[in-house]
């Protein structure tokens, strides 16, 4: 199956959707369902394949690269996107038809980011995904969502200019834009030029991956976007952005000094994120800071760059994707039921509707890494994988997990606490949320308890990253 369909289908439907009125919502469903099915087909394969676009061989033309890591991420992204749509299907946004267009384009762009093997093409897809993210960020009801979106837009535009500058420095000195070709040629470069290009790109991708100190936009955007917007931003986008980070920073640039910087920044991000998450009074803000912390841990692992670290990072990334899907969709619904998502307001909401507690609890438990859940397996793997490198990193992971446990349990206990203020009326859980939520819970538990052998595809990610086929990535 040619993966170009993953980009072309949502793109085509989005163009039709702009004048199709009510049908554009149907198009969104068709496109995401079709994408989920296609990505299942693509998942059934292994090795590295390059698909050329326009009939021009790389490095002259643009190509799409499918490797074992991409396969897992593609399936995860398209599935989570579909589940997020189902989970938030009860929500009605302002100008819903046009918003559907933005969601379709974000789906196309995310698949493009995961697939492309060209530095400049990645820039174009990053821009599409970023602009759709700004629109999602502005989709909230409160006025502050517009201000948050504007802040995000300004930071994001600076970032994309920096990324573009980095790409141009690479092009000027190596004469190519193809990732594999560039990766082979940067080794003969002046280390200062390489480091400068890498720094520019780290700033550029750091904003989107929420690396400290470029993550100031995230809490306000996540906390104030609409339910659907924040769920997709928090669960689907990180997978794509971190995949772009891996491709560009570690496979193309791969400079030792830069990797050390990323480890340091990652640790800082994780600790600051957890500490701030601990002190939050609003549920979605707490989740936003927790997302930042997760991103920090994952980026730290990418900075380490060993095969096992990649496997661990991918596991954490998927765990975060499914967990945040549950948490954000439930938190948005709770905010709707309780009027706001402040700590005092949501007290006892879970007692009225136990399903809320179940879904929120499952999401929280897999994020903090409780046994039986996928999070436990991934954190255990990460700790054992990084133990031999240095004791610092497992220590950081344990400390962050400890902070996570305290504040997530505080919120869960708050949800089930008896509160006299609440009326006796039960607040029903929308069918879509219940369905998608239970499916996501099944996934995280299944990944947590199935035997190691069934998760063979994770090991293939690791195999790949050793030989990560700098030459093969471009299919030269």
């Amino acid at each position: 199956m040619n993966p170009t369909w993953l980009i072309a289908l949502p793109l085509g439907f989005a163009f039709l959707g702009i004048f199709a009125g009510k049908f554009s919502k149907a198009f969104l469903w068709i496109a995401s369902l079709a994408n989920a099915i296609i990505s299942l087909f693509i998942f059934n394969g292994n090795g590295v394949t390059s698909y050329i676009i326009g009939g021009w061989i790389p490095p002259y033309g643009i190509n799409l690269v499918v490797n074992d890591m991409t396969r897992v991420f593609l399936l995860a992204v398209n599935l989570i996107f579909l589940l997020a749509l189902v989970a938030t299907s009860a929500e009605i946004l302002k100008k819903d038809e046009k918003m559907s267009v933005a969601f379709m384009l974000s789906l196309a762009a995310i698949n493009g980011i995961l697939l492309t093997g060209d530095l400049f093409n990645l820039f174009v897809f990053l821009e599409i995904s970023a602009i759709s993210a700004y629109i999602m960020a502005a989709s909230g009801k409160e006025a502050i969502s517009k201000f948050a979106a504007l802040k995000y837009l300004i930071l994001g535009s600076i970032a994309s200019s920096f990324y573009l500058l980095g790409v141009i420095v690479v092009y000027a000195s190596t004469g190519t834009l193809n990732m594999a070709d560039a990766a082979a040629k940067v080794t003969s470069l002046n280390p200062n030029v390489l480091l400068a290009a890498g720094l520019l790109m780290v700033v550029g991708l750091g904003v989107e991956t929420k690396l400290f100190p470029f993550n100031g936009w995230a809490p306000d955007v996540y906390a104030n976007a609409s339910g659907r917007g924040s769920t997709i931003l928090a669960s689907v986008f990180p997978i794509a952005m971190i995949s772009a980070f891996i491709r560009v920073i570690t496979f193309v640039i791969n400079s030792g000094k830069l990797n050390e910087l990323i480890i340091v920044l990652g640790i800082t991000t994780a600790i600051i994120g957890e500490v701030l998450a601990f002190s939050q009074k609003r549920m979605k803000k707490m989740l936003a800071y927790s997302s930042i912390a997760q991103a920090g841990v994952i980026l730290m692992l990418i900075g380490i760059g060993s095969s096992k670290a990649y496997i661990g990072a991918s596991m954490l990334l998927l765990n975060n994707g499914f967990g945040k899907l549950l948490l954000f969709s439930v938190a948005s619904q709770i905010a709707l039921v309780a009027g706001s998502d402040h700590f005092e307001n949501v007290t006892g909401v879970g007692r009225k509707s136990p399903l809320f507690t179940l879904l929120f609890g499952a999401g929280a438990l897999t994020i903090v890494g409780m046994p039986l859940f996928f999070g436990f397996r991934s954190k255990l793997y990460v700790i054992s994988a990084t133990m031999d490198k240095s004791l610092w990193i497992p220590a950081v992971i344990l400390i962050t997990a400890a902070i996570e446990v305290t504040y997530y349990f505080r919120w869960i206990f708050n949800l089930v606490k008896a509160d006299a203020k609440l009326s006796e009326k039960r607040s029903p859980v929308p069918f879509g949320l219940a369905l998608a939520g239970l499916l996501a819970v099944l996934v995280v538990i299944a990944f947590g308890i199935v035997p190691e052998a069934n998760l063979d595809f994770f090991n293939r990610i690791g195999d790949l990253s050793i030989q990560l086929s700098k030459t093969l990535m471009g299919g030269m």
């Binding site: 326009g54 267009v101 821009e127 004469g175």
Partner: protein, 250 residues
């Protein structure tokens, strides 16, 4: 104080860049000095000689037939042929931004300007707008021979619309613009999928290229540029219309 820190950071950035600009040495490769680029070390060398799929000898304007990509304008051949996928993305960015503007501030009725417009101005505005439309079409149809192409062509069309919006209280036609915009974008994707089905590669040219320098000489390029031109024109017109519209006045 804040300004001083900002200036310092900007200055450091400047220094870093000047440093890497002067990094090309015998020992290591860096960014070539201004004007001393060796094109044979870059991929563009093959775009110029049109020999990506195999050496085709020297290309001569007005003589060479069926040259690769066929466009006399090399920038155009890169934009809509060698790297057409980027351009599809670029069109999508503009489309998405226009949609975002419509979500945020679109939909209102536009406020009529405070000054009354003389009928002579109205009529001449219509004439000039028609001329601009024709000129815009000329620019994007000849994109493979002369500088220009779909994006400037579309913007010139939008300039005509701007003129009409300023000088003339015509009825808004934004629904029509949306249909044009959407169909043209869809057409671009369909051209790409046709390439995928006919030749096995998304967006691959499946039309013959004629003699270099003729109007019909570049396969899909004039078609795609016309699609882009119309799309960009409709998009930017709708965008300007949204900025003219006043929220809350239906």
């Amino acid at each position: 104080m804040k300004k001083a820190i900002a200036a310092l950071i900007a200055f450091l950035f400047f220094l870093m860049f000047v440093n890497i600009l002067n990094s090309d040495s015998e020992e290591f490769k860096g960014i070539p000095k201004f004007g001393e680029v060796n094109l044979t070390e870059r991929v563009s060398n093959k775009y110029i000689s049109k020999s990506v799929s195999g050496d085709s000898g020297e290309i001569v304007y007005g003589k060479t037939e069926n040259a690769e990509s066929g466009s006399a304008n090399m920038v155009t051949s890169i934009v809509v042929n060698y790297r057409s996928f980027d351009t599809l993305g670029e069109v999508t960015v503009l489309f998405l931004a226009a949609t975002g503007v419509a979500i945020l501030i679109g939909g209102g009725q536009r406020k009529s300007l405070a000054i009354s417009v003389n009928p002579i101005v109205k009529i001449s505005a219509r004439i000039i707008a028609t001329l601009l439309l024709a000129f815009g079409a000329y620019v994007f149809i000849h994109g493979h021979l002369t500088p220009g192409g779909g994006f400037p062509g579309g913007t010139i069309i939008a300039a005509g619309t701007l003129l009409m919006l300023v000088a003339d209280d015509k009825k808004r036609t934004s629904k029509l613009l949306k249909i044009l915009e959407g169909t043209m974008g869809f057409l671009y994707v369909v051209i790409g999928i046709a390439g995928l089905l006919v030749t096995g590669s998304f967006l691959k040219n499946f039309l013959p290229t004629g003699t270099m320098g003729n109007l019909f000489s570049a396969g899909l390029i004039p078609i795609i540029y016309s699609v882009i031109g119309l799309k960009v024109g409709a998009e930017l017109s709708a965008l300007l219309d949204d900025f003219f519209a006043e929220e809350g006045r239906k």
